[in-house]
């Protein structure tokens, strides 16, 4: 017998959620077969079998949250030889655990005009079910549908939400035993129907919450602010987009900021660093992450080796990553390894803001709106396009002067963007 353990699927993963089992107890398993889909803090990933055998028992049902290294199933491998004595109760228990197949009485389907071979085309689901799944961070593929033809309907999603919540509660006895806030402080009288509604926390938001607390509690932040003249940057972007039109590439201001950060980090390796285990680590590679808002929460896809890429390559990569993040198809690799992060809220009209450092990175750049502002130039008022930058830094890694020197290089690059292309 071999225990199947919850694998470590990303460098920040601490626990995973069983999304879908692809094998049922009794199924033969070959090396490389997909056993189970696991949702990590970053993505939905397939877990394949390292050994051949028969799946004897599932220990963690779909929806359950399991720590890394904990058993999720039992595989009977070929060399066990103790089939009879192995676990006589396992099969019986499995049979009892298995969902009652007769309960899924299919709706009598309307008589089809022609009867082609049923070809499974994705998962059938109602628009309402899809929206609810999206809002609750559920993978609809992991929910079994009980509507006509197996369509996933609202009732199925509501059941899955309840199951996931129960599993999450059962799997987390270590929740800090703070006084249970049964009624939040703002809760009005219980008979008031406007009571706060509990919203299921998706994996992503749960992990993000833990890491943000870790960052704010452990990394002493300081903030450097600087206004950058963006006239040349806009002209450069217009020229670049003109030149790249044939290639179908469109460069955004954010792409240029990412490229400028990568170039500046190359010149200031002390900022491209981490503080961990009471030591300072300098990174040889420059991997820039950028914050992307998605339905499931904030994701930070990473442009690897951005310092070695041309502006147009950065633009192509950032667009592809942003789309993958929104579609939920971004891989764990594409979310890992960042050494610096750029967060841009300019498109929402935010003038300036300070971001929380994304551990174990040393710094994060917050980019505000690029717009015309009144500035003093050569002793007179002028109207110029400017952009407000705010660099948040982990003081354990860098001092003020180090951070300021980096920010100064960054500003210089953004005000002379030709330097990004040569």
């Amino acid at each position: 017998m071999t225990e199947i353990l919850m694998p470590r699927l990303s460098d920040t993963m601490e626990e995973g959620v069983i999304a879908t089992w692809h094998k049922r107890p009794g199924d033969e398993v070959a090396v490389g077969d997909v056993l189970v889909d696991i949702e990590t803090d970053k993505a939905l990933m397939e877990h394949t079998s390292y050994e051949a055998g028969t799946l004897v028992r599932i220990l963690a049902e779909e929806g359950a949250t399991v720590s890394i290294g904990a058993p999720i199933g039992i595989l009977r491998t070929g060399d066990d030889g103790d089939d009879a004595s192995g676990e006589p109760t396992a099969d019986a228990a499995t049979a009892a655990d298995a969902p009652e197949p007769a309960a899924v009485a299919p709706e009598p389907a309307p008589a089809p005009v022609t009867a082609p071979e049923p070809v499974p085309v994705g998962i059938r689901s109602s628009p309402l079910a899809r929206r609810l799944a999206r809002e609750h961070g559920l993978d609809i593929a992991a929910v079994s549908g009980t509507g006509p033809g197996g369509r996933v309907v609202r009732a199925d999603i509501e059941r899955a939400i309840k199951t996931a919540a129960a599993a999450a509660r059962a799997a987390e006895p270590t929740v800090p035993s703070a006084p249970p806030a049964a009624t939040p402080p703002t809760a009005p009288a219980p008979q008031d129907v406007r009571r706060p509604r509990e919203v299921e926390l998706g994996r992503l938001r749960k992990v993000a919450a833990a890491r943000l607390v870790q960052s704010k509690q452990q990394a002493p932040h300081f903030y450097l602010r600087r206004s950058v003249d963006a006239e040349s940057l806009l002209a450069f972007r217009a020229d670049a987009n003109c030149a790249l039109r044939q290639a179908g590439v469109k460069v955004s201001v954010n792409d240029l900021v990412i490229k400028a950060c990568a170039t500046a980090l190359r010149r200031h390796p002390e900022v491209n660093a981490s503080y961990a285990d009471d030591r300072l680590w300098w990174h040889d590679a420059v991997h820039i992450g950028f914050a992307a808002a998605t339905d499931r929460g904030l994701l930070v896809p990473v442009i690897h080796d951005a310092d070695r890429m041309s502006v147009s390559s950065v633009a192509t990569a950032s667009r592809a990553l942003a789309e993958a993040a929104r579609a939920g198809t971004v891989s764990a690799d594409q979310l890992s390894g960042g050494t610096f992060t750029v967060s841009n809220l300019g498109m929402y009209g935010v003038d300036e803001f300070a971001a929380v450092v994304n551990p174990p990175q040393a710094a994060i750049l917050a980019v505000g709106a690029l717009r015309e502002r009144a500035v003093v130039r050569d002793g007179a008022l002028a109207v110029r396009n400017t952009v407000e930058l705010c660099l948040s830094i982990d003081h354990r890694v860098c001092d003020g002067a180090t951070g300021a020197a980096f920010l100064s290089t960054l500003a210089e690059l953004l005000e002379n963007p030709l330097m990004l292309a040569v």
């Binding site: 929206r131 009980t146 509507g147 006509p148």
Partner: protein, 331 residues
């Protein structure tokens, strides 16, 4: 609040409008001496005289055209077309003149015309006298089309129609003339273009107009016995259509069934279904379903006529199928 029939509510409102506004007059076939084929105008010739209650020859195109001219010159004529089937003879006057004069002539004159006309099958009047062709008029910009489902609505909508400066078709229903209901004596004036949630519920939106509203309410009552709450929406105004109320209801319930007393293909239900999928797509837990008449010229023979018209059982069957599809029943 007095209880009266749909017929009495219309008659009393016509009388009040004739008393209230000297520009109001009635025009139509056999509305005077014969007091109306369905006795809506009973007693009105005697009370208001032949200048205000005018019998016409059997010439729909002619008297609808005359009413349009009178409306353009400042009167407020209320035309009775004996049944909606005969309105086809006046189709050019209604569609090409009444609906278009205001827009085509730069707003120089509006056409404050009311056309009252009943539709509906179930009276053994044969295929040519039993239609619901309100769709033909609901399709045309420049017209307003109202379809009251109760005596109170009939009174309130007739008042609104007379006071409105545009041509309004008031669709009555032969099957409703004898239906009874409370009518407020406060001279309510309906808001044109507003649907009404006539029974709230959380499980399914059932949409109808005119006679189908009462059928829908019976279906809702039947399902209420097993704890299923069906919301019934009365369209009231077919043009302009109150899309917001429909969409808002389906966003709450997640599914909808439309009941109509006309043919399915290209019908009013098709417009409603399209409206719902556009406005509430992400809230739909099941396809929008439609229940309508059999796609045949309505038979004369009573059993066949009854079989062709949508009834409580037909509607309940489709409602149940939709509830099952969303696992609201039978889960």
């Amino acid at each position: 609040m007095p209880v009266m029939t749909y017929r009495q509510a219309l008659r009393e409102t016509l009388r009040e409008e004739l008393q209230r506004d000297p520009d109001v007059l009635l025009i139509g076939e056999e509305i005077g001496a014969f007091e109306g084929s369905y006795k809506i105008t009973e007693g009105l010739l005697k009370e208001f005289g032949p200048r205000r209650v005018r019998d016409t020859p059997i010439a729909e195109e002619g008297f609808v055209g005359a009413a349009i001219g009178a409306a353009m010159l400042g009167l407020r004529p209320i035309v009775e077309i004996m049944t909606i089937n005969f309105s086809l003879l006046a189709l050019d006057q209604i569609v090409n003149h009444a609906a278009k004069i205001y827009g085509m002539f730069g707003g120089q004159t509006s056409v404050p015309l009311v056309i009252r006309t009943p539709g509906g099958g179930g009276q053994q009047l044969g295929a040519t006298h039993s239609q619901n062709i309100e769709l033909y008029y609901s399709f045309v910009p420049g017209l307003k089309v109202l379809a009251p489902s109760t005596p109170a609505e009939a009174a309130a909508m007739l008042r609104a129609a007379v006071r409105d400066d545009d041509p309004v078709l008031l669709l009555e229903n032969l099957g409703l003339y004898n239906s009874r209901g409370q009518v407020p004596d406060t001279a309510e004036v309906a808001e044109i273009g507003r649907a009404a949630v006539v029974r709230p519920g959380r499980d399914l939106t059932l949409i109808g107009y005119s006679r189908m509203v009462s059928v829908a309410l019976q279906v809702a009552e039947r399902f209420a016995e097993s704890g299923v709450e069906i919301e019934v929406v009365d369209l009231r105004s077919l043009r302009p259509l109150d899309r917001a109320t429909l969409v808002e209801s389906v966003r709450r319930t997640g599914c909808a069934v439309v009941a109509e007393d006309d043919w399915l293909t290209y019908g009013i239900g098709a417009e409603i279904a399209a409206t719902i999928q556009e406005g509430a797509f992400d809230h739909l837990d099941a396809p929008v379903r439609r229940v309508a008449m059999a796609e045949v010229p309505l038979p004369y023979a009573k059993p066949l006529e009854l079989a062709a018209l949508p009834n409580v059982t037909d509607l309940a069957t489709v409602v149940e199928q939709t509830l099952r599809a969303t696992r609201r029943v039978g889960a």
